[in-house]
Protein backbone atom coordinates (compact mmCIF):
# COMPACT_ATOMS: atom_id res chain seq x y z
CA UNK A 1 0.00 0.00 0.00
CA UNK A 2 1.29 3.49 -0.85
CA UNK A 3 2.10 5.89 1.95
CA UNK A 4 -0.71 8.18 3.08
CA UNK A 5 -0.46 11.44 4.98
CA UNK A 6 -2.58 10.92 8.09
CA UNK A 7 -3.23 12.55 11.42
CA UNK A 8 -2.04 10.43 14.36
CA UNK A 9 -5.55 9.95 15.73
CA UNK A 10 -7.04 8.85 12.42
CA UNK A 11 -4.11 6.55 11.74
CA UNK A 12 -4.65 4.92 15.14
CA UNK A 13 -8.30 4.35 14.25
CA UNK A 14 -7.44 2.80 10.90
CA UNK A 15 -4.75 0.66 12.53
CA UNK A 16 -7.36 -0.82 14.87
CA UNK A 17 -9.56 -1.69 11.89
CA UNK A 18 -6.61 -3.23 10.03
CA UNK A 19 -5.96 -5.28 13.19
CA UNK A 20 -9.42 -6.83 12.87
CA UNK A 21 -11.06 -4.74 15.58
CA UNK A 22 -14.74 -4.12 14.88
CA UNK A 23 -15.98 -2.63 18.16
CA UNK A 24 -15.31 0.75 19.74
CA UNK A 25 -16.84 2.07 22.96
CA UNK A 26 -15.84 5.51 24.17
CA UNK A 27 -16.62 9.03 25.19
CA UNK A 28 -15.24 12.20 23.59
CA UNK A 29 -12.39 14.22 25.04
CA UNK A 30 -9.74 16.50 23.50
CA UNK A 31 -7.10 15.88 22.13
CA UNK A 32 -8.19 12.49 20.78
CA UNK A 33 -11.70 13.24 19.43
CA UNK A 34 -10.59 12.38 15.91
CA UNK A 35 -10.27 8.71 16.96
CA UNK A 36 -13.94 8.19 17.90
CA UNK A 37 -14.96 10.47 15.02
CA UNK A 38 -13.00 8.30 12.60
CA UNK A 39 -14.31 5.06 14.11
CA UNK A 40 -17.92 6.27 14.01
CA UNK A 41 -17.60 6.77 10.25
CA UNK A 42 -15.39 3.80 9.46
CA UNK A 43 -16.73 0.95 11.60
CA UNK A 44 -20.19 0.75 9.97
CA UNK A 45 -18.43 0.44 6.57
CA UNK A 46 -16.69 -2.75 7.68
CA UNK A 47 -19.60 -4.32 9.55
CA UNK A 48 -18.45 -3.07 12.92
CA UNK A 49 -20.14 -1.04 15.58
CA UNK A 50 -19.39 2.26 17.29
CA UNK A 51 -20.95 3.13 20.63
CA UNK A 52 -20.66 6.48 22.32
CA UNK A 53 -21.31 5.54 25.92
CA UNK A 54 -22.85 7.86 28.53
CA UNK A 55 -19.53 7.99 30.36
CA UNK A 56 -16.04 6.54 30.39
CA UNK A 57 -17.01 4.27 33.29
CA UNK A 58 -19.70 2.70 31.10
CA UNK A 59 -17.41 2.51 28.11
CA UNK A 60 -14.81 0.54 30.02
CA UNK A 61 -17.45 -1.87 31.32
CA UNK A 62 -18.86 -2.31 27.80
CA UNK A 63 -15.34 -3.27 26.74
CA UNK A 64 -15.29 -5.78 29.61
CA UNK A 65 -18.42 -7.39 28.18
CA UNK A 66 -17.35 -7.32 24.54
CA UNK A 67 -13.90 -8.74 25.29
CA UNK A 68 -15.52 -11.42 27.44
CA UNK A 69 -17.58 -12.43 24.41
CA UNK A 70 -14.30 -12.92 22.53
CA UNK A 71 -14.39 -9.80 20.32
CA UNK A 72 -11.41 -7.60 19.53
CA UNK A 73 -12.38 -4.22 20.95
CA UNK A 74 -10.75 -0.97 21.93
CA UNK A 75 -11.27 2.49 23.23
CA UNK A 76 -9.37 5.73 23.22
CA UNK A 77 -9.45 8.62 25.61
CA UNK A 78 -7.25 11.24 27.17
CA UNK A 79 -5.95 11.51 30.71
CA UNK A 80 -9.07 12.51 32.74
CA UNK A 81 -11.14 10.02 30.73
CA UNK A 82 -8.61 7.24 31.30
CA UNK A 83 -8.86 7.92 35.05
CA UNK A 84 -12.60 7.31 34.84
CA UNK A 85 -11.97 4.03 33.02
CA UNK A 86 -9.80 2.61 35.79
CA UNK A 87 -12.67 0.63 37.33
CA UNK A 88 -13.13 -1.29 34.11
CA UNK A 89 -9.40 -1.69 33.52
CA UNK A 90 -8.88 -3.25 36.95
CA UNK A 91 -11.79 -5.67 36.38
CA UNK A 92 -10.51 -6.50 32.88
CA UNK A 93 -7.04 -7.20 34.30
CA UNK A 94 -8.58 -9.35 37.05
CA UNK A 95 -10.81 -11.26 34.65
CA UNK A 96 -7.88 -11.61 32.21
CA UNK A 97 -9.45 -10.09 29.12
CA UNK A 98 -7.76 -8.63 26.06
CA UNK A 99 -8.61 -4.95 25.57
CA UNK A 100 -6.59 -2.14 23.98
CA UNK A 101 -6.70 1.29 25.63
CA UNK A 102 -5.27 4.26 23.75
CA UNK A 103 -4.39 7.22 25.99
CA UNK A 104 -3.54 10.44 24.15
CA UNK A 105 -2.19 12.19 27.21
CA UNK A 106 -2.89 15.82 28.12
CA UNK A 107 -1.72 17.91 31.04
CA UNK A 108 -3.15 17.28 34.51
CA UNK A 109 -3.93 16.80 37.36
CA UNK A 110 -7.70 17.12 37.31
CA UNK A 111 -9.04 18.55 34.09
CA UNK A 112 -5.64 20.17 33.51
CA UNK A 113 -5.33 21.34 29.92
CA UNK A 114 -5.63 19.92 26.43
CA UNK A 115 -2.00 20.16 25.28
CA UNK A 116 0.59 17.35 25.12
CA UNK A 117 1.87 15.74 28.29
CA UNK A 118 3.45 12.54 29.57
CA UNK A 119 2.11 12.81 33.08
CA UNK A 120 0.23 9.48 33.11
CA UNK A 121 3.37 7.32 33.12
CA UNK A 122 2.83 6.22 36.73
CA UNK A 123 -0.85 5.52 36.12
CA UNK A 124 -0.16 3.38 33.06
CA UNK A 125 2.91 1.48 34.25
CA UNK A 126 2.24 1.04 37.96
CA UNK A 127 -1.40 0.01 37.99
CA UNK A 128 -3.77 2.96 37.86
CA UNK A 129 -6.77 1.13 39.25
CA UNK A 130 -6.93 -0.91 42.44
CA UNK A 131 -5.45 -4.35 42.91
CA UNK A 132 -2.19 -6.05 42.14
CA UNK A 133 -2.07 -5.93 38.35
CA UNK A 134 -0.01 -4.71 35.42
CA UNK A 135 -0.81 -3.52 31.91
CA UNK A 136 1.51 -3.72 28.96
CA UNK A 137 2.38 -0.16 27.91
CA UNK A 138 3.54 0.75 24.39
CA UNK A 139 4.76 4.29 23.65
CA UNK A 140 4.96 5.43 20.00
CA UNK A 141 7.07 8.37 18.93
CA UNK A 142 5.90 8.71 15.31
CA UNK A 143 2.54 8.29 13.60
CA UNK A 144 3.89 5.23 11.76
CA UNK A 145 4.95 3.70 15.04
CA UNK A 146 1.54 4.49 16.54
CA UNK A 147 0.02 2.42 13.73
CA UNK A 148 2.46 -0.45 14.20
CA UNK A 149 2.08 -0.47 17.99
CA UNK A 150 -1.73 -0.37 17.89
CA UNK A 151 -1.63 -3.48 15.70
CA UNK A 152 0.90 -5.09 18.04
CA UNK A 153 -1.22 -4.11 21.05
CA UNK A 154 -4.11 -6.25 19.80
CA UNK A 155 -1.76 -9.21 19.30
CA UNK A 156 -0.25 -8.85 22.76
CA UNK A 157 -3.63 -8.33 24.43
CA UNK A 158 -4.82 -11.64 22.96
CA UNK A 159 -1.55 -13.42 23.67
CA UNK A 160 -1.53 -12.54 27.37
CA UNK A 161 -5.27 -11.98 27.86
CA UNK A 162 -4.40 -8.66 29.41
CA UNK A 163 -5.21 -4.97 28.96
CA UNK A 164 -2.64 -3.12 26.82
CA UNK A 165 -2.12 0.63 26.76
CA UNK A 166 -0.89 2.58 23.77
CA UNK A 167 0.43 5.69 25.48
CA UNK A 168 0.74 8.68 23.17
CA UNK A 169 0.40 12.39 23.75
CA UNK A 170 -1.46 15.27 22.15
CA UNK A 171 1.33 15.84 19.67
CA UNK A 172 1.29 12.26 18.35
CA UNK A 173 -2.49 12.45 18.11
CA UNK A 174 -2.69 15.78 16.27
CA UNK A 175 0.34 15.57 14.00
CA UNK A 176 0.18 14.35 10.39
CA UNK A 177 2.94 12.11 9.02
CA UNK A 178 3.25 9.62 6.17
CA UNK A 179 2.01 6.16 7.16
CA UNK A 180 1.53 2.77 5.63
CA UNK A 181 -0.50 -0.12 6.93
CA UNK A 182 1.75 -3.12 6.62
CA UNK A 183 -0.61 -5.88 7.71
CA UNK A 184 -4.31 -6.47 7.48
CA UNK A 185 -6.10 -8.95 9.71
CA UNK A 186 -9.72 -9.96 9.14
CA UNK A 187 -11.80 -10.75 12.23
CA UNK A 188 -12.76 -14.14 10.76
CA UNK A 189 -9.09 -15.11 10.48
CA UNK A 190 -8.34 -14.55 14.17
CA UNK A 191 -7.68 -17.64 16.28
CA UNK A 192 -10.63 -18.88 18.31
CA UNK A 193 -10.84 -17.92 21.98
CA UNK A 194 -11.96 -21.09 23.77
CA UNK A 195 -12.34 -19.23 27.07
CA UNK A 196 -14.87 -16.68 25.72
CA UNK A 197 -18.52 -16.63 26.75
CA UNK A 198 -20.10 -17.38 23.40
CA UNK A 199 -23.03 -19.56 24.50
CA UNK A 200 -22.28 -22.86 26.24
CA UNK A 201 -24.21 -25.13 23.87
CA UNK A 202 -22.39 -28.46 23.65
CA UNK A 203 -19.50 -27.47 25.85
CA UNK A 204 -18.64 -26.71 29.46
CA UNK A 205 -19.72 -23.30 30.69
CA UNK A 206 -17.07 -20.54 30.61
CA UNK A 207 -17.10 -18.08 33.48
CA UNK A 208 -15.55 -14.62 33.33
CA UNK A 209 -15.19 -13.03 36.71
CA UNK A 210 -12.85 -11.07 38.92
CA UNK A 211 -14.48 -12.02 42.23
CA UNK A 212 -12.68 -14.62 44.39
CA UNK A 213 -14.21 -14.60 47.87
CA UNK A 214 -12.11 -17.51 49.07
CA UNK A 215 -8.73 -15.96 50.01
CA UNK A 216 -6.86 -19.10 49.06
CA UNK A 217 -8.34 -18.94 45.56
CA UNK A 218 -7.61 -15.23 45.24
CA UNK A 219 -4.03 -15.72 46.37
CA UNK A 220 -3.60 -18.44 43.76
CA UNK A 221 -5.12 -16.13 41.14
CA UNK A 222 -2.81 -13.27 42.13
CA UNK A 223 0.29 -15.45 41.82
CA UNK A 224 -0.93 -16.74 38.50
CA UNK A 225 -1.23 -13.14 37.25
CA UNK A 226 2.24 -12.39 38.60
CA UNK A 227 3.63 -15.31 36.59
CA UNK A 228 2.05 -13.84 33.48
CA UNK A 229 3.67 -10.46 34.14
CA UNK A 230 7.02 -12.23 34.50
CA UNK A 231 6.45 -13.79 31.08
CA UNK A 232 5.79 -10.32 29.64
CA UNK A 233 8.99 -9.05 31.22
CA UNK A 234 10.90 -11.93 29.68
CA UNK A 235 9.45 -11.62 26.17
CA UNK A 236 8.11 -8.17 25.44
CA UNK A 237 10.73 -5.53 26.21
CA UNK A 238 11.20 -3.21 23.26
CA UNK A 239 13.45 -0.20 22.85
CA UNK A 240 15.34 1.87 20.30
CA UNK A 241 18.98 2.88 20.42
CA UNK A 242 19.88 6.03 18.48
CA UNK A 243 23.52 7.03 18.03
CA UNK A 244 24.63 4.82 20.93
CA UNK A 245 28.43 4.64 20.69
CA UNK A 246 31.36 3.94 22.98
CA UNK A 247 32.36 6.98 25.05
CA UNK A 248 29.25 9.11 24.64
CA UNK A 249 29.34 12.45 26.41
CA UNK A 250 25.61 12.39 27.12
CA UNK A 251 22.96 9.70 26.93
CA UNK A 252 19.40 10.98 26.64
CA UNK A 253 16.67 8.72 27.98
CA UNK A 254 13.27 9.71 26.65
CA UNK A 255 10.14 8.14 25.16
CA UNK A 256 7.41 9.21 22.74
CA UNK A 257 7.41 12.81 21.56
CA UNK A 258 10.36 13.84 23.74
CA UNK A 259 12.52 11.14 22.15
CA UNK A 260 12.13 12.67 18.70
CA UNK A 261 12.96 16.12 20.06
CA UNK A 262 16.07 14.56 21.61
CA UNK A 263 17.04 13.17 18.20
CA UNK A 264 17.08 16.70 16.76
CA UNK A 265 19.08 17.86 19.80
CA UNK A 266 21.61 15.05 19.21
CA UNK A 267 22.17 16.24 15.64
CA UNK A 268 22.61 19.82 16.88
CA UNK A 269 25.06 18.69 19.59
CA UNK A 270 27.21 17.02 16.94
CA UNK A 271 28.00 20.43 15.47
CA UNK A 272 29.21 21.52 18.91
CA UNK A 273 31.53 18.53 19.07
CA UNK A 274 29.42 16.77 21.70
CA UNK A 275 28.74 13.08 21.19
CA UNK A 276 25.23 12.28 22.41
CA UNK A 277 22.97 9.25 22.06
CA UNK A 278 19.40 8.30 22.87
CA UNK A 279 17.92 5.31 24.64
CA UNK A 280 14.20 5.19 23.92
CA UNK A 281 12.00 2.70 25.77
CA UNK A 282 9.20 1.59 23.44
CA UNK A 283 7.61 -0.61 26.11
CA UNK A 284 7.27 1.39 29.30
CA UNK A 285 6.03 -1.72 31.04
CA UNK A 286 7.94 -3.97 30.90
CA UNK A 287 10.73 -1.40 31.20
CA UNK A 288 13.89 -2.38 29.26
CA UNK A 289 16.12 -1.87 32.30
CA UNK A 290 19.01 -4.23 31.49
CA UNK A 291 19.31 -2.80 27.99
CA UNK A 292 19.36 0.72 29.42
CA UNK A 293 22.07 -0.34 31.86
CA UNK A 294 24.19 -1.53 28.97
CA UNK A 295 23.77 1.72 27.01
CA UNK A 296 24.42 3.79 30.14
CA UNK A 297 27.74 2.06 30.73
CA UNK A 298 29.10 3.84 27.64
CA UNK A 299 28.37 7.45 28.60
CA UNK A 300 29.66 10.15 30.93
CA UNK A 301 26.33 11.77 31.79
CA UNK A 302 22.71 10.64 31.73
CA UNK A 303 19.88 13.07 31.02
CA UNK A 304 16.28 11.90 31.35
CA UNK A 305 13.71 14.17 29.76
CA UNK A 306 9.94 13.94 30.00
CA UNK A 307 6.79 16.02 29.68
CA UNK A 308 6.26 15.56 33.42
CA UNK A 309 7.90 16.64 36.66
CA UNK A 310 9.72 13.30 36.72
CA UNK A 311 8.06 9.88 36.44
CA UNK A 312 10.01 7.55 34.14
CA UNK A 313 13.16 8.97 35.72
CA UNK A 314 12.30 6.87 38.82
CA UNK A 315 12.51 3.67 36.75
CA UNK A 316 15.78 4.85 35.20
CA UNK A 317 17.24 5.47 38.67
CA UNK A 318 15.93 2.12 39.92
CA UNK A 319 17.71 0.26 37.14
CA UNK A 320 20.95 2.23 37.20
CA UNK A 321 21.36 2.15 40.96
CA UNK A 322 22.31 4.64 43.62
CA UNK A 323 25.85 5.19 42.41
CA UNK A 324 24.90 6.52 39.04
CA UNK A 325 23.98 10.19 38.81
CA UNK A 326 20.89 10.83 36.70
CA UNK A 327 19.94 14.36 35.60
CA UNK A 328 16.38 15.32 34.70
CA UNK A 329 14.79 17.96 32.48
CA UNK A 330 11.01 18.24 32.25
CA UNK A 331 8.39 20.58 30.82
CA UNK A 332 4.79 20.36 32.02
CA UNK A 333 1.31 21.77 31.66
CA UNK A 334 1.24 21.28 27.89
CA UNK A 335 4.53 23.09 27.27
CA UNK A 336 6.86 21.08 25.06
CA UNK A 337 10.62 21.54 25.18
CA UNK A 338 12.50 22.62 22.05
CA UNK A 339 15.61 20.79 20.82
CA UNK A 340 17.55 23.95 21.80
CA UNK A 341 16.51 23.48 25.43
CA UNK A 342 17.83 19.93 25.45
CA UNK A 343 21.06 21.08 23.81
CA UNK A 344 21.48 23.72 26.53
CA UNK A 345 20.78 21.18 29.29
CA UNK A 346 23.34 18.76 27.87
CA UNK A 347 25.96 21.49 27.57
CA UNK A 348 25.27 22.63 31.14
CA UNK A 349 25.56 19.09 32.40
CA UNK A 350 28.99 18.62 30.82
CA UNK A 351 30.46 21.79 32.32
Amino acid sequence: MAKKLMKGCEAIGEAAIQAGCRLFFGYPITPQNEIPEYMSARLPQVGGMFVQAESEVSASNMLYGAAGAGCRCFTSSSSPGISLMQEGISYIAGAELPVVFVNIMRGGPGLGGILPSQSDYFQATKGGGHGDYRCLVLAPSTVQEAVDLVQLAFELADKYRNPVYVLGDGLIGQMMEPVEFKTTVKPEDLPEKPWATTGAKGRKQNIINSLYLDPEDLEKHNWKLKKKYEEMEKNEKRWEEFNITENMDVLFVAYGTVARIAKTAIEDLKSKGINAGLFRPITLYPFPGEQLEKAASKCKKILVSELSTGQMVEDVKYHLGKNREVAFYGRVGGMVMTPEELVDEAVKLLK
Binding site: L5, Q174, E177, I261, A262, A265
Partner: protein
Protein backbone atom coordinates in the same frame (compact mmCIF):
# COMPACT_ATOMS: atom_id res chain seq x y z
CA UNK B 1 16.61 19.30 1.93
CA UNK B 2 15.47 20.36 5.37
CA UNK B 3 12.82 23.08 5.67
CA UNK B 4 10.55 24.26 8.46
CA UNK B 5 7.58 26.41 7.42
CA UNK B 6 4.98 28.15 9.58
CA UNK B 7 1.62 28.99 8.00
CA UNK B 8 -0.56 31.36 9.99
CA UNK B 9 -3.76 33.38 9.75
CA UNK B 10 -7.31 33.75 11.09
CA UNK B 11 -9.31 30.61 11.79
CA UNK B 12 -11.27 29.98 8.58
CA UNK B 13 -8.68 31.38 6.15
CA UNK B 14 -7.51 27.89 5.31
CA UNK B 15 -3.95 27.84 6.65
CA UNK B 16 -4.31 24.24 7.83
CA UNK B 17 -5.39 23.22 4.33
CA UNK B 18 -2.47 24.87 2.52
CA UNK B 19 -0.18 23.37 5.16
CA UNK B 20 -1.53 19.93 4.28
CA UNK B 21 -1.05 20.56 0.57
CA UNK B 22 2.54 21.59 1.21
CA UNK B 23 3.21 18.54 3.40
CA UNK B 24 1.59 16.22 0.87
CA UNK B 25 3.75 17.68 -1.89
CA UNK B 26 6.86 17.14 0.20
CA UNK B 27 5.85 13.52 0.77
CA UNK B 28 5.16 12.93 -2.93
CA UNK B 29 8.69 14.17 -3.63
CA UNK B 30 10.00 11.31 -1.48
CA UNK B 31 10.70 13.25 1.71
CA UNK B 32 9.73 12.68 5.31
CA UNK B 33 7.17 15.29 6.36
CA UNK B 34 5.29 16.42 9.45
CA UNK B 35 2.27 18.68 9.73
CA UNK B 36 1.55 19.98 13.21
CA UNK B 37 -1.41 22.24 13.98
CA UNK B 38 -1.45 24.56 16.96
CA UNK B 39 -4.42 22.90 18.64
CA UNK B 40 -4.85 25.03 21.75
CA UNK B 41 -8.23 26.54 22.62
CA UNK B 42 -8.39 28.29 19.24
CA UNK B 43 -11.75 29.41 17.93
CA UNK B 44 -13.25 30.75 14.75
CA UNK B 45 -12.00 34.28 14.18
CA UNK B 46 -9.01 33.67 16.44
CA UNK B 47 -5.52 33.02 15.16
CA UNK B 48 -4.59 29.67 13.75
CA UNK B 49 -1.31 28.20 12.58
CA UNK B 50 0.45 25.02 11.61
CA UNK B 51 4.05 23.97 11.17
CA UNK B 52 5.22 21.87 8.24
CA UNK B 53 8.62 20.21 8.20
CA UNK B 54 9.98 18.69 4.98
CA UNK B 55 13.20 16.71 5.21
CA UNK B 56 15.22 14.15 3.28
CA UNK B 57 16.08 12.45 6.59
CA UNK B 58 13.64 11.24 9.28
CA UNK B 59 12.24 14.22 11.17
CA UNK B 60 12.93 14.68 14.87
CA UNK B 61 11.08 17.64 16.33
CA UNK B 62 7.93 18.52 14.35
CA UNK B 63 7.88 22.02 15.82
CA UNK B 64 9.85 25.04 14.75
CA UNK B 65 11.40 27.82 16.76
CA UNK B 66 13.19 29.36 13.76
CA UNK B 67 11.37 28.51 10.52
CA UNK B 68 12.90 28.85 7.06
CA UNK B 69 9.61 30.16 5.73
CA UNK B 70 6.51 31.99 6.96
CA UNK B 71 3.17 32.56 5.26
CA UNK B 72 1.34 35.32 7.16
CA UNK B 73 -2.26 35.77 6.06
CA UNK B 74 -3.08 38.42 8.68
CA UNK B 75 -1.37 41.03 10.87
CA UNK B 76 -1.34 39.12 14.22
CA UNK B 77 0.46 36.27 12.43
CA UNK B 78 3.16 38.56 11.08
CA UNK B 79 3.51 40.23 14.49
CA UNK B 80 3.86 36.86 16.19
CA UNK B 81 6.27 35.10 13.84
CA UNK B 82 8.25 37.78 11.96
CA UNK B 83 11.17 37.76 14.39
CA UNK B 84 11.40 33.97 14.48
CA UNK B 85 12.17 33.50 10.78
CA UNK B 86 15.75 32.47 10.00
CA UNK B 87 18.14 34.83 8.25
CA UNK B 88 17.70 34.50 4.47
CA UNK B 89 14.29 32.91 5.05
CA UNK B 90 11.15 33.77 3.10
CA UNK B 91 8.09 35.66 4.37
CA UNK B 92 4.92 35.79 2.30
CA UNK B 93 2.80 38.74 3.42
CA UNK B 94 -0.88 39.06 2.57
CA UNK B 95 -1.03 42.81 1.96
CA UNK B 96 -4.84 42.68 1.67
CA UNK B 97 -4.99 42.35 5.45
CA UNK B 98 -1.55 43.51 6.58
CA UNK B 99 -1.02 47.26 6.40
CA UNK B 100 2.59 47.41 7.50
CA UNK B 101 5.94 46.53 6.00
CA UNK B 102 8.13 43.68 7.22
CA UNK B 103 10.74 45.20 9.54
CA UNK B 104 13.43 42.63 8.86
CA UNK B 105 15.94 43.33 6.11
CA UNK B 106 17.73 39.97 6.27
CA UNK B 107 14.87 37.92 4.81
CA UNK B 108 13.24 37.66 1.40
CA UNK B 109 9.81 39.31 1.49
CA UNK B 110 7.02 38.53 -0.97
CA UNK B 111 4.06 40.89 -0.78
CA UNK B 112 0.80 39.62 -2.30
CA UNK B 113 -2.67 41.16 -2.14
CA UNK B 114 -4.01 37.63 -1.76
CA UNK B 115 -7.67 38.50 -1.10
CA UNK B 116 -7.97 40.84 -4.09
CA UNK B 117 -6.30 38.34 -6.41
CA UNK B 118 -8.50 35.54 -5.08
CA UNK B 119 -11.63 37.60 -5.87
CA UNK B 120 -10.30 38.17 -9.40
CA UNK B 121 -9.84 34.40 -9.70
CA UNK B 122 -13.47 33.81 -8.77
CA UNK B 123 -13.59 33.24 -5.01
CA UNK B 124 -12.49 35.30 -2.03
CA UNK B 125 -11.94 32.01 -0.20
CA UNK B 126 -8.95 31.14 -2.38
CA UNK B 127 -6.66 33.77 -0.79
CA UNK B 128 -4.83 30.96 0.98
CA UNK B 129 -4.01 29.39 -2.40
CA UNK B 130 -2.66 32.68 -3.75
CA UNK B 131 -0.35 32.87 -0.74
CA UNK B 132 0.77 29.25 -1.13
CA UNK B 133 1.40 29.83 -4.83
CA UNK B 134 3.52 32.85 -3.96
CA UNK B 135 5.49 30.79 -1.45
CA UNK B 136 6.11 28.10 -4.08
CA UNK B 137 7.17 30.74 -6.59
CA UNK B 138 9.61 32.36 -4.19
CA UNK B 139 11.13 29.17 -2.76
CA UNK B 140 10.68 26.54 -5.50
CA UNK B 141 10.20 24.12 -2.59
CA UNK B 142 7.77 22.05 -4.68
CA UNK B 143 6.72 21.99 -8.30
CA UNK B 144 3.58 24.03 -9.02
CA UNK B 145 2.09 21.28 -11.21
CA UNK B 146 2.60 18.71 -8.43
CA UNK B 147 0.74 20.90 -5.94
CA UNK B 148 -2.06 21.46 -8.47
CA UNK B 149 -2.41 17.71 -9.01
CA UNK B 150 -2.59 17.05 -5.29
CA UNK B 151 -5.21 19.78 -4.95
CA UNK B 152 -7.27 18.16 -7.72
CA UNK B 153 -7.11 14.84 -5.85
CA UNK B 154 -8.12 16.28 -2.51
CA UNK B 155 -10.93 18.37 -4.05
CA UNK B 156 -12.21 15.43 -6.11
CA UNK B 157 -15.62 15.60 -4.40
CA UNK B 158 -15.93 19.35 -5.16
CA UNK B 159 -14.80 19.58 -8.81
CA UNK B 160 -16.25 23.09 -9.21
CA UNK B 161 -13.68 24.49 -6.82
CA UNK B 162 -10.64 23.03 -8.54
CA UNK B 163 -10.41 25.56 -11.35
CA UNK B 164 -10.64 28.60 -9.08
CA UNK B 165 -8.02 27.23 -6.75
CA UNK B 166 -5.69 26.29 -9.60
CA UNK B 167 -6.01 29.80 -10.94
CA UNK B 168 -5.27 31.29 -7.52
CA UNK B 169 -2.20 29.09 -7.07
CA UNK B 170 -0.87 30.06 -10.49
CA UNK B 171 -1.46 33.79 -10.00
CA UNK B 172 0.40 33.73 -6.68
CA UNK B 173 3.18 31.69 -8.22
CA UNK B 174 3.65 34.01 -11.21
CA UNK B 175 3.64 37.06 -8.97
CA UNK B 176 6.39 35.72 -6.73
CA UNK B 177 8.58 33.99 -9.27
CA UNK B 178 10.41 37.15 -10.22
CA UNK B 179 10.93 38.40 -6.64
Amino acid sequence: MYKEIILAGFGGQGVLLIGKLLAYSGMKMGNDVTWMPAYGPEMRGGTCNCTVVISEKPIGSPMSKHPHGLIALNLPSLDKFEDTVRKDGVIVVNTSLINRKVKRNDVKVVEVPANEIAIECGSAKAANMVALGAFLGATQIADLELVKNILSESFASKPKLIEVNHKALTRGYELAKGV
